[in-house]
Amino acid sequence: MGTHILKTDSVLLEFDGRKILQDIYIDCRQGEVVGLLGRNGCGKSSLLRIIFGSLKASYKHISINDVPISKGYHNGRVAYLPQHNYLPLNLKISNLAVPMIDPQFWDEFSNHPIYRQYHNQKAAQLSGGELRQLETLMCIYSRADFILLDEPFTHVSPVETEMFKEIIRKCSRVKGIIVTDHQYYNILDLADRMVLITDGATKAIKTPDDLIAHGYVSHLREV
């Protein structure tokens, strides 16, 4: 099986006549992690939702291997971790996990402590933090070829952040992953390359100093 490539080009998104996204190009190959950075309200989440297919843009061109796709989630090609909880609360976790998890990662996922502890319970029985951890893991281990992670490190402890980063690195060997988060130092650490959204347009980030040049940060945090 060859390496698939997801390309998103010429996205135009307007709210009330205000252009949010207008000059967008981002691509992602299986085998890499692409970091997506940008200030609050710049359109990062909107861009991910447009790629996934849950938000309609005025114009967009999205393709996998140069074959246009209308919605990323069709045929399970793209999975998306939204910022909010997304699991149906009244269903048993094992019943929710089986259709979603990639069989090649099933043993790893099912041996994870959060799944082992709660697989026989309903999602409603988990605490907010546990539910978020489970939802993030289910998305990273999902069957899709491309995974979009919207703020996976927000409200997550440092130990869990390191664990997620390790799992993302492992899964990115066979999947393409686009990840966005305000903890830019985690994105710098994790991503193979980075893209910044500023003024509705994407800018390729060659070095971390470019983030300063584009006004995203005033100085880089020592890690």
């Binding site: 996934f52 989630y73 045929n75 909880n85 997304y86 929710l96 289910m138 999902s142 069957r143």
Partner: protein, 93 residues
């Protein structure tokens, strides 16, 4: 959605079995009830949040609605047929 379908089926049966409305009219009411529940889920934020799970799991939302409503309509048809048959027998004997 399951409870909504059950309640609307019972309501339709309540008016259909004594003959206040015919079966075709009761199906029209069922159709309207499907529109109401789809509209409610579209507007109700907590319901459409879970759409992300079904999409991630590879279940198209349109198909889920179609299969659910088709199953409900068939179940309603069977219940109405059996009930009408039973009422007919009770009337005869």
């Amino acid at each position: 959605m399951l409870w909504w379908c059950v309640v609307t089926s019972l309501a339709c049966a309540y008016y259909t079995l004594p003959g206040y409305i015919n079966v075709a009219e009761s199906y029209l009411l069922k159709l309207i009830s499907y529109g109401v529940i789809v509209g409610f889920q579209y507007i109700y934020h907590n319901a459409n949040k879970t759409f992300f799970y079904y999409r991630n799991a590879g279940y198209p939302i349109d198909s889920l609605y179609t299969y659910s409503f088709a199953a409900d309509a068939v179940a309603y048809g069977i219940i109405i047929s059996i009930s009408k048959l039973l009422l007919h027998w009770v009337h005869i004997f």
